[in-house]
């Protein structure tokens, strides 16, 4: 079999396996709660990369949206061409195309697409049912009225008044409670962005973040970051702060200098021997190892100078055994920095998705219910009911 034919066979087998895997996965994903599915989508969970295009679309549609993230997750999806039916993502005003968090466009509701039509038996059945109900209502009210007259009227009026009073009492109690909670809720809604920004800045700048984390948790109850437990692992550094890239660079510099000094004496003592061996085409293994470690540390410093933390981590990891516990400690801090950077990026997405104070205020209809708990009942100075917003009765 030629090499290309062999590759083709592997590609076909891979695609078949991918389709089978996707079919299995979509069942388990659709069985999840909608919150969990949203979480997977927003965090671009790795599992989603295993879905075939049709299944991925099914998953996205199960969330009631008709759009996909601009950078749809893909491993093998890339090979399958663009995802069909994906709607171009429309950025909200103020967010330049291609920047900020990916946004979604909601699918029109089913009734907007196809308003309910009265046809077939419904055309006759519905008016008939309404007529019967009206007739029953007339008989039910008219019969006692004609027999007992004023007594019944008085009793009905009493009952209605009693119910009304109870209803008003309940509502006033509710409203009082709402009023009591309102400042906290406004406070929460308006400070979330600020708090998230503070936490992000603390993480990014290497400042202690214990306080900002506590604030964020207070406002959001539980910080909804799906980071694989990275935030939890950063907690030991909460009081000291996660070292910045610059701090890591300095720490790696002194680590490298110390290691070079330690290996220098061996270098001087073995100089003659090395020279002889070099002529013969090789270096003493110990010296070569020391050189290799020193070179790797030097390269790592250069990578850090260029801002390439991952490359530096990779290089130091490769020689950590040759350096000792100092390198392990440095690596722990470097991993923490990497995790902090990742969390800061997620926080940025959350900040972008959280309404600003201006947006919150703009969303408040004057004096009416707004979903944030503004009382819809105004109570006058004498305690009497002043105005009731009809929408509360709905």
């Amino acid at each position: 079999m030629s090499a290309v034919a062999k590759l083709d066979r592997l590609i076909d087998a891979g695609r078949r396996a991918g389709r089978q895997e996707s079919a299995r996965l979509i069942d388990s994903l659709l069985a999840m709660s909608i919150e969990d599915r949203w979480r997977l989508l927003m965090t671009r969970d790795r599992q989603l990369t295993r879905l075939a295009p049709a299944d991925y679309q099914l998953f996205v549609r199960s969330l009631g949206i008709n759009a996909v993230l601009e950078d749809a997750p893909a491993t093998w999806l890339n090979d399958m061409g663009p995802i069909t039916g994906a709607t171009p993502v429309v950025e909200p005003r103020g967010v330049a195309a291609g920047t900020g968090a990916a946004r979604f466009r909601c699918e029109p509701t089913r009734t907007a697409d196809a308003p309910i039509q009265l046809d077939g038996p419904l055309v006759w059945a519905l008016p008939f049912a309404v007529c019967v109900l009206l007739a029953l209502a007339v008989i039910g009210v008219g019969l006692p009225w004609s027999s007992d007259g004023p007594a019944v009227t008085a009793a009905v009026a009493d009952q209605a008044e009693e119910r009304h009073a109870d209803h008003l009492e309940d509502r006033l109690a509710d409203e009082a409670l709402t009023r009591q909670r309102w400042p906290d809720r406004v406070d929460d809604a308006t400070h979330v962005r600020e708090t998230l920004r503070q936490l992000k800045a603390d993480l990014a700048d290497g400042r202690p973040f214990l306080q900002s984390l506590a604030q964020a948790e207070r406002h959001l109850l539980v910080l909804p970051i799906a980071d694989g437990g990275a935030l939890q692992r950063l907690l030991p550094l909460a009081e000291a702060g996660v070292p910045t890239l610059d701090g890591l660079r300095q720490a790696l510099g002194s680590l490298h200098d110390r290691h070079r000094e330690r290996t220098q004496s061996a270098t001087l003592l073995g100089a003659m021997g090395r020279l002889a061996r070099r002529m013969a085409g090789g270096l003493a293994p110990a010296q070569r190892r020391a050189d290799r470690v020193n070179q790797a540390l030097l390269d790592s410093r250069r990578e850090l100078d260029r801002g390439h933390l991952n490359a530096a981590i990779r290089m130091v990891t490769g020689v950590a055994a040759g350096v000792g516990p100092e390198a392990v400690e440095w690596l722990e801090l470097a991993h923490a920095r990497r995790a902090a950077t990742m969390i800061a990026e997620q926080l940025e997405t959350m900040i972008d998705m959280t309404p600003s104070l201006g947006e919150i205020l703009a969303a408040l209809p004057t004096g009416g219910p707004n979903g944030l708990g503004i009382p819809s009942v105004d109570v006058g100075p004498d305690g009497t009911l002043d105005r009731v917003d009809d929408r509360m009765l709905a």
Binding site: S2, A3, K6, L10, I11, D12, G18, E21, R288, L298
Partner: protein, 263 residues
């Protein structure tokens, strides 16, 4: 007549060793097995391909000594000249080694020697979408044009850090266009999206080994399920095939594809 395939860029992490391994695989399909030579203190190629397969010249001195006195290694590298004049070779220059080796080649008139011995040369320079990698790669290409005028020079756009669309108007790409007018070949190297890519790297598996591995093996080494492992191998094969198709026009001109492989 022998042929020598070189891969170099002064910037690390641009995919030099990966490219060398792919080239070795592709040339082998065309009946040109390469004797691999690693001129790098890290000997990464030998780690992947096995010490039997790779001659690790390393650098003959510690990198720091070499920076202080480049001529220290010159006589040591003369061995490299002997190797490439005698057989088909693939030479992988480690990061930061390009300047030293090219200076040595220029002073030794290696280009003239290769012409004299009828040794052909393909010089591949991989770059990623990163200004440092680009400028360093262009530096190498300019030097190679001067030192090995008879060589074929190939710029490999490695898309592992993203595509190069943003560089369309930069001076670096204008320079690429100039070089292309003077015979520079440009090929693209896609990012491998196989889920097991990092595992293959960790296990030091070269392409030829990966496509020979069964899904069960891959699953055992990576912790993936068997279906996912098979998909990961398929993704890897798709990437390798794309690479083979990109490089084919260059390789095919050297020797015709053997009858068995052409089937």
């Amino acid at each position: 007549m022998s042929h020598s395939v070189w891969v170099a860029n002064g910037k690390g992490g641009v995919g030099k060793s990966v490219l060398m391994m792919v080239l070795s695989y592709v040339y082998e399909q065309y009946g040109v097995p390469l004797r691999l030579i690693d001129v790098d203190d890290k000997a990464k190629l030998a780690e992947f391909m096995g010490e039997q397969r790779v001659l690790s010249l390393r650098i003959g001195a510690s990198a720091e000594d070499l920076r202080l006195n480049p001529s220290l290694a010159y006589s040591y590298w003369d061995r490299l000249a002997n190797e490439i004049l005698d057989q088909d070779t693939g030479v992988d220059l480690g990061a930061n080694m390009d300047r030293h080796i090219l200076a040595w080649a220029e002073k030794s008139d290696l280009g003239g020697l290769m012409t004299e011995y009828d040794t052909g040369m393909d010089f591949y320079v991989p770059v990623t979408a990163d200004p440092l990698a680009l400028s360093s790669g262009l530096e190498v290409l300019t030097a190679v044009e001067r030192i090995f005028p008879a060589s074929r020079r190939i710029l490999v756009l490695n898309k592992m850090l993203g595509d190069f669309a943003a560089y369309g108007d930069t001076p670096e790409f204008k320079r690429v266009l100039q070089l292309r007018d003077r015979g520079l070949h440009v090929v693209e190297m896609d990012q491998c999206v196989s889920e097991a890519w990092t595992d293959f790297e960790r296990l030091k598996l070269p392409p030829a080994r990966v496509v020979d591995m069964g899904a069960k093996d891959v699953a055992a080494h990576t912790g993936l399920g068997v279906l996912a492992a098979r998909r990961a191998i398929g993704d890897y094969a798709a990437w390798l095939k794309k690479m083979q198709l990109s490089l084919e026009p260059l390789v095919a001109t050297l020797k015709p594809l053997p009858a068995e492989a052409a089937e």
